[in-house]
Amino acid sequence: MKLFPVRGGIHPDYRKDATSEKPIVALPMPAVLHILLQQHIGASAEAVVSEGQHVKKGELLGRAQGAVSAPVHAPTSGLIKAVTRCPAPHPSGLDQLTVVLEPDGKDEWGDLLPPIKDPFAATTDEIALRVAACGIVGLGGATFPSSVKLNLGKIHKLEMLLLNGAECEPYLTCDDRVMREFADEVVDGARIMAHALGTPKIVIGIESNKPAAIKAMTAAAEKVTGVVVAPVPVQYPMGSERHLVQAITGRETPIRKLTADIGVVVHNVATARAIHHAVRFGRPLINRVVTVGGGAVAEGKNIEAPIGADVQDLIRFCGGLRESAHRFVNGGPMMGQPLPSLNVPVIKGMSGILALTKKEANEHAPQPCIRCGSCVTTCPCGLVPVEMAAFIRNDKLDMAARSGVQDCFSCGSCSWICPSHIPLVHYFNYAKGALAAQDRDARKIDRTKTLVEARNARLEKVAEAKRAAAAARKAKTATPESDKASA
């Protein structure tokens, strides 16, 4: 398959060997699960269970609210201990509304939605509704509700479903294992999605450092028609959907547009598998594969963990820590988030838990920038990080915005390569947050202004009407007098 070059990028030390040959193992059911109601982009789910209620596996715990939202389900049968606020795996460490479930050990399935007998005869709405009902979100980490993306075929002319199996983040091997062990399920899920989207073609992009996954997926793809496996170059951030689309199709997604605007919809491989389960068996998304790795973990593993299991439980299942970890990361080391604590639950978007040693993190105090230009060369978005950071450091956010800081998707290539160890992404994340806040304020002011102007106009109109009425009255009372005078 002909591939197209992608700008910039880096070649970090992949360190996938520690877990890539470890088959997926199921986590023994923990004593308690904390299921967050907000595990996705969009509106939070609304709890439909209450304290003391007994639920079965797969039963609805929280229902979706609004167009962009996703429900959450019980990963096992048990007792609802509470619906309360608990710490979330978010860098802020703030609490979020959580359903606390105590498993009863029976792991008893409740009533599931009936399987869709022939998905290829089903309508887009049927499939999208099913995917929505099963709480499936993008498992690559973005956690965007998948059903919304399945409807894109209605408003865009799509040519291709691109399945993202790049897994370009170092350490992570969960997608690799899913492709190797469940290739048929992934391909079936992809075909169901392609049917819903109305795309004739399915391409599965896999970085060429995963030969076993490429082999397994190729074998699965050969059993059906219209599915092609495309090995893509090992180049971080190949897993960024816009860049993967460019590598495969040569098309560049215009800024602030979707890949769907250029005819391609991208889904993660694990999402495809979840959709297979939802459509063929009616099973909601209640567990996911998480890579637990990093040099500080006794034995790295790929764990199929129920949503809501404690991060601490997963690390304990890996034999605990062999040395004290310098950093704990939720996700990959490049774009992952720092974990505020180990007492936070697994969520749908959690692809990895990393306990990194000091040596692996290789952090140093920042030094002056020597303008080496490495950040410019590596930026896959064609930005000039050195310039943006200088603007931000001098609090010139408008200038930083003009030089494109909002185009940055925080892939971290610039920070990774910087010989002066300048935390560039940290600057950019700060600026993006501050600019978004400014934007919100500006919109608020605008809205207030519009409202005030509308009110003034209304009052003016009322006053005008009053004046007119008064004038008319006056005219009325004046006329008889003038009549009298003339008489």
């Binding site: 560049e252 950093r327 990393l354 993190a361 290789n362 410019v376 990774w416 010989p419 002066s420 992404v425």
Partner: protein, 358 residues
């Protein structure tokens, strides 16, 4: 347990550091330096030690005056590298005070007055060199034919000490013009370039370095080796060296084809003077060159062109240092105007058009 996440990712980092970069550049300079130390003998070695030592001492002094920790800044290797490049740009038998004054201009004036590491607009080593070149033209153009270490005609250790540190004896007996200087002088006497070219060392000797010139500029081959090493290590890229040398070669060849009596040929421009040293080690200085590859192409072209113009039409035989400083001044403008095209945008910064809605 609670951990405070005080920073955004990434949580892994390449094995890059300022010290590593500077050390690799110095490592790349080692072969040429050793060769030239041998070629020009003890005085060159003393000059080298004086220049590097002055630069490091002045760096420590400047940092100390600013109340900054000077141990760390010294260990980053930037001052040592500046001293090294400065030494290589001086005539090998120059007296110690020339080296010291050059170091003052390089470190104190060009670097620290502008704000220290990473903040300087002009290449410190070249500022140092130009300052002494315009102040002491006699000492700075007193090149000499190679006097290899331990050769019969070369000065011994003690004698060399007086050359560098004592009252400078007249160098007239040993001095020789650099090839560029020789041709310029001959041209001013009315001897056409095509004729004087026959009297300079042949191409091979020029490339290998057995010729008169500054301490570090004579061996094009060893400098090239160092430059290729830096490219292999991804410290520098091809953009600046190729455009500098390519422009110089093209301009030389083009005008030489028109009038061989007036203009030196392209190959001569390549192997003489500081072309290789300048193209691989001076023009590629991170701080003072544009940050984008696109900008570097323009920058390299400018240096090549200006070097050729200065060599051909100006009073000085060699123009590399001036050309670098002139383009240093333009680097911020180049950076401002020539930038990579952002993903999903046109060169002007507008979003790309979606197919079908143009």
């Amino acid at each position: 347990m609670t951990m405070l996440p005080e920073k955004s990712g990434p949580f892994t980092h390449a094995e890059t550091s300022v010290t590593r970069t500077m050390t690799l550049v110095m490592a790349a300079l080692v072969p040429a330096t050793l060769f030239d130390a041998w070629l020009f003998g003890w005085p060159a070695i003393f000059l080298f030690i004086t220049t590097v030592g002055s630069c490091m001492a002045l760096e420590a002094l400047c940092l100390n005056l600013q109340g900054k920790p000077f141990d760390r800044a010294l260990s980053d290797g930037s001052a040592a590298l500046t001293g090294w490049l400065l030494a290589m740009s001086l005539p090998p038998w120059a007296p110690w005070w020339v080296a010291f004054i050059a170091a003052v201009f390089a470190i104190c004036v060009a670097k620290h007055i502008f704000g220290g590491l990473g903040q300087n607009v002009f290449n410190p080593a070249m500022v140092g060199r130009i300052a002494v070149l315009v102040s002491f033209p006699v000492q700075l153009t007193a090149f000499l034919a190679p006097h290899p270490l331990f050769a019969a005609a070369s000065p011994g250790f003690m004698e060399s000490l007086t050359i560098t540190f004592g009252h400078a004896a007249s160098l007239d007996s040993v001095s020789a013009a650099s090839a560029l200087g020789f041709i310029k002088t001959e041209l001013s006497r009315g001897v056409p370039v095509s004729e004087s070219l026959t009297k300079i060392p042949d191409l091979m000797d020029m490339a290998m370095g057995a010729r008169a010139g500054s301490f570090g500029e004579t061996s094009a081959v060893l400098i090239l080796l160092g430059g290729l090493f830096l490219m292999a290590k991804k410290i520098i890229s091809w953009h600046i060296p190729v455009t500098v040398m390519g422009t110089l070669f093209l301009m030389g060849s083009l005008f030489n084809a028109v009038d061989p009596g007036r203009f030196e040929p392209g190959w001569f421009h390549l192997v003489s003077g500081a072309t290789f040293l300048g193209a691989f080690f001076i023009a590629t200085d991170y701080v003072t060159s544009p940050v984008s590859k696109e900008g570097q192409l323009v920058y390299g072209f400018g240096i090549g062109l200006l070097t050729w113009v200065i060599r051909t039409f100006a009073g000085y035989p060699e123009g590399m240092a001036f050309a670098v400083l002139l383009m240093n001044a333009l680097a911020p403008i180049i950076d401002h105007n020539i930038r990579p095209r952002a993903f999903g945008r046109t060169r002007k910064g507008e979003p790309l058009a979606v197919r079908g809605d143009q």
